[in-house]
Amino acid sequence: MSFYIPIGPQHPVHPEPLLMKFKVEGEQVIDVEINVSYTHRGIEKGFEYRDYMKGIFLAERICGICNAAHTLCYTQNIEQLLGKEIPPRAKYLRLIVEELSRIHSHLLWLGLAAHQIGFETLFMYVWRDREKVLDLLETITGNRVVTAYNTIGGVRRDITPEIEQKIRKSLDYLEERTKYFKKVVMEEPTVLVRTQNVGILKPREAIELFAVGPVLRASGIKHDIRADDPYIAHDEVPFNVVTYDTCDVYARILVRVDEILECINMVRYSLDHLPSGEYRIRMPVIVRPPPGESVSRVEAPRGELLHYVRSDGSDKPYRYKVRTPTLANIPSTARMLTSRGDYIVYIADIPIIFGSIDPCLCCTGRVMFIDIEKSKSWVWTYNELVRYSLKRFERHD
């Protein structure tokens, strides 16, 4: 007897609204439809009504957690159009804020993953230590999460020596805590049982379905935009691409934890080699880039983020396209969530598998549902399901 579980659009563990419809037999998941169109706000049309300077604030609000990556990608895109080169100090400052927001995003995800498998204590500890990074971001950029730090032509604020001391002190504390979390994740039996060989994505499937970021690297494929196509100061700051090859949720946890340690070293390195000089070049208030188009790519915490802009010489972009990392990971998630042959997915695994790609649905506001096996015919169409659940839930008064 198979029936449907609609999880969402309101669900305690996924902060964002998404509707996942699972065809289930007993505890086994057979099929999935992921509908994430609830966060579609029509941002691309919004860009066409804003001039380039105001566009930064809209780009920032595409996704709250990885907004440093979005503003970086946006400003880099416009600078490529203008053909302007930003001063080296600005490059390093942008790199520091980008890596700090990556630490904050990965720690946030680690807490949420622990919450999804019911490990409340680790969730509380990780989020308590995450406050340290948020304090750092607040001292540097003035705001805890939405850091309006990058602007066209450089950065808005400079780092003073005492801020530098503060960063170094917090980083030592963070490094020691992250090592402790890594030990907990690797040794805690219930965590291992819930994450090992769950949500399998083989390397061939990962490439074929165009997975990006930690999901790709957890399947053993060594691709990272910071290494392949180094932007801002990534060619000078050394770092190694972290890969694990057990292709499951456990590998994704470890990839992200190791990446936190990498980011800590990168920020330390860039603090030691911070070039002097001014941190921004003068820009006219109304920016009018020459007609043309440009593509800019950034390694956001969740994967490879791509911005494409086409300008026609006026002060508003003619067309602005954003392709977010979670959009690229949705096909591979659908593949992970369906049981095939001996690989069985249980209902209890759904939150942790879907959580393992670190979904940032507001970025993905442009994705709707995917049918995996085309041959499947659903018992109900979408509207019938809504009517059925409406009748079922209606208040009895």
Partner: protein, 322 residues
Amino acid sequence: MIEVLYKMIEMILFPGFAFIGVLSLLYEWIDRKFYARLQNRIGPLYAGPHGILQPLADFIKLLSKEDIIPEGADKFLFTLTPILFFAINLLLTLFLPICGTTGVISFTGDLIFFVALLTMISILVYTAGMASTNRFATIGAERAVLQLIGYEIPFMLSIVSVAISSRSLTIKNIVESQSSIWHILGPNFLAFIIFAITAQAELERIPFDIPEAEQEIVAGWLVEYSGKKLALFRLGKDVETLLLCGLGATLFLGGPLGPVVPGLEIVFYTLYFIVKSIIVLLVLTTLRALFARLRVDQMLVLSWKYLIPLSLISVLIVRVVF
């Protein structure tokens, strides 16, 4: 006549419902406060001194909320299960020896009756889930029964090993047999560990809160209940926590026994009982804070592969020693 009146007072007031109700709210407060402390948080603080009235506030608020019965739910069962759930739990607390070596009710072989009713509670959880015909509730109910199969046998065996070591099935004798050494210090230490793990499963708390897994199936079998019914369920669960901690204290830590000033036995007995059951409660709360939630199939594997053999060994040890 005086006898009946005295029994009534005992039933209603002292070791009976009023006392148990207040004590169970106190236990929920200790549990939440200790759990928050383990997570480096402060826990409820502003409802009354140190937040001690927080469970009371939750209970009254739920009582005053509107009570919704979903259209498709089977009305009779939907309203009956919370009342039954609360009533059985309260009835069982009468067996616990709080202010003396015997509870309010005690007859020979009352341990078997006690344990039988405990299983009844899990069946009630299943009917509650099935009565509210919400998809999540049905899955929660199925998981409750699956879990019941998992932990019921080791739970019984750990109690049996205590019964063997004190050679009787009545709680009174078990308590008296522990006057020399507590069961936990003797060969029954292994039985205590199994009892703690399976009590955690009976109370559906973190490592085993699969039927109510908030992240996966919203709130499991509780999803449709609101208002008075939810209040009854929550209070029933608090009383059940007190029940199992009390049972743990009685079976393993020698119930209310301990050095006593001759005049005020009752006060001392109650104090001992409360202190010992709080110790068991703290053990359960640390268990709750340390682990992540298991999947249903993993839980069954754990209980059938590890817990049952362990409990059989403990019964064997006790049989050899006594």
